[in-house]
């Protein structure tokens, strides 16, 4: 399948539903062939953003451009955007083949050509021979693949996926994530993927946009989002975290609000208010050491997770390589290097 992949630019999108502000000035650039995940809790406006891009909602302000062309007011039918819905939205009265053929029929593609491309698309999602079945005769994962085939069969300029794996069990979800990634790379298709599952976002994306309350908190690569979150919300939403606030009292040192002093590698200017993030798996030995009482200890197979109550009311979540679980109530020491502390 020839790729017609395009870049997407949304600027200053605002959308209100009565009192509720679903989108509060959202701007975003997606390069051709990129897979961008929009990650956010429910109600963060991510689905509204997708609907505006797809054309199902008209924004109150702002614009949507594909390859530089303004499509803000174009009806969905004329946008050439493939979309996979939360519950697949397969037409229950049409066979799998007719479902996949639907966008081609709408574009008046010739019969023979339709047949060829449907077969090709079904092969791509490994559903050869399922063409005559009805959607309800397929499993959830298979329906998902049909929805995917239908969304890409007409060489869309953009592919939108709206929490497509929510209804699948964990194992199938992981398989489908890899499959979507493989297909997307192979077709070089510009893709927006919506999810509230941060693990899924980390597995799939080139870049992640974290949304909250109608705004984008941060857009960055997966590692950047995880290692260097821009603020509390991102740090807290993506991965497990220990977040504290304090003031930089001298270069290379932060005094937390609890009074505790931390050595940092970040060149923050003296006197500024900062947040610090310590990922639980970064604890081991280090220049900053903590002594705390074990409040909780959970065995997780590949690691153990501890909740420590340290001095000055500080609580830490710590992950350590698998080993013997310390007794509840016992005191242990952990440390962290200044380089492993993210300051924002």
């Amino acid at each position: 399948m020839a790729s017609r992949s395009a870049d997407l630019r949304v600027e200053g999108l605002v959308k209100r539903f009565g009192e509720v502000v679903a989108l509060d000035g959202v701007s975003l650039d997606i390069a051709s062939g990129e897979l961008l995940t929009i990650l956010g809790p429910s109600g963060s406006g991510k689905t509204t953003l997708l609907k505006v891009v797809a054309g199902f909602e008209t924004p109150d302000a702002g614009s949507v451009r594909v390859d530089g062309t303004d499509i803000t007011t174009l009806p969905p039918a004329r946008r050439d955007i493939g979309m996979v819905f939360q519950n697949y939205a397969l037409f229950p009265h049409l066979t799998v083949a007719r479902n996949v053929a639907f966008p081609l029929e709408m574009r008046n593609v010739g019969k023979a050509e339709i047949e060829r491309r449907v077969a090709e698309a079904l092969e791509l999602v490994e559903l050869e021979g399922y063409g005559r079945r009805l959607p309800r005769q397929l499993s959830g994962g298979q329906q998902q693949r049909v929805a995917l085939a239908r969304a890409i069969v007409f060489n869309p300029r953009l592919l939108l996926l709206d929490e497509p794996f929510g209804a699948l069990d964990r194992k199938l979800r992981e398989t489908m994530q890899l499959e979507v990634r493989r297909l997307q790379r192979r077709l070089g298709l510009t893709t927006i993927f919506i999810t509230h599952d941060q693990e899924e976002a980390l597995v799939l994306s080139d870049r992640i946009a974290v949304m909250n309350k109608g705004s984008i908190e941060q857009v960055a690569s997966t590692t950047e989002i995880y290692e260097r979150p821009a603020n509390d919300f991102v740090a807290d939403f993506v991965g497990e975290s220990n977040i504290f606030h304090g003031t930089v009292t001298e270069v290379g040192s932060v005094t937390l609000d609890s009074g505790r002093r931390l050595l940092i590698a970040h060149p923050a200017s003296v006197g500024s208010r900062v947040g610090v993030l310590m990922r639980p798996e970064r604890f081991g030995r280090g220049a900053n050491s903590f002594n705390g009482e074990v409040k909780e200890a959970v065995y997780l197979g590949s690691s153990i997770k501890l909740r420590l109550a340290c001095d000055a009311g500080m609580e830490l979540i710590v992950r350590q390589p698998s080993g013997a679980l310390p007794a509840i109530g016992s005191r242990i020491s952990v440390g962290i290097e200044p380089e492993s502390i993210h300051v924002f």
Partner: protein, 263 residues
Amino acid sequence: MKPNGNRRLLVALCTLIYVFLMLPLVVVFPISLSSAPYMQFPPPGLSTQWYERYLDDPQWIDATVRSLYVGGATAVLALLLGVPLAFSLARGRYAGRIAVDRLALAPLIVPVIILSVGLYGLFAKLKLIGEWYGLVVAHTVLALPFVVLVMMAGLRDFDRALEQAAEGLGASRLQTLFRVTLPLLRPSLVSAGLLAFISSFDELVVALFLAGPNMTLPKKMFDNILMEIDPTIAAVSVMQIVLVSIVLVLIGRFGRGLQGSAR
């Protein structure tokens, strides 16, 4: 629920109620096959004479045929008007929507006698008494609520993501309507159409006023019942019951829940 004393009592009571409900429907069968020259029960012997009398009487046949095409036309007209109305009510948000809803369902509440007298006066003036299409218009008013109720129930359960999917895949609004929405609503359409047909086919009061000299089946039956209780009526009743049964089977097979029709 566990069967216990109370439950058994309930079942027994309901069996009696069912006997009460079905008895009038059942009793016409033996009478219609009676060999007696007049009403007699139980019938002394079997014969098909009453069916023959019905089939040989051009008045009965004429009335039946008229009722059939009035019912058919009513169903078509009620669907043509009622389906868009239901769409508008189920999906629109406009000032006056509640008033429109009330008006559309009002023919269920307003006594038919009042509508009949009102239309009688109007149609007399318009010289529409006795015209079959006048009857169709009147019956459509009465059938409209059924169509609206059944279609709105169907639309309530309709997954609008399917329409968005179709539009996203390149279908125009019209293409979406005819290739996705209406095919998926077919069960509701079947139910609505059949209910509209039956409601017209059975309708007496309006016909009493508007049919004039041109009999419909219910009017012919009414007149006959007033004149003489002869078992021809029983034969006609049996055929009517069979027809309704067929329609119910059709609805069960191709249609969608009937409960919406009976609020």
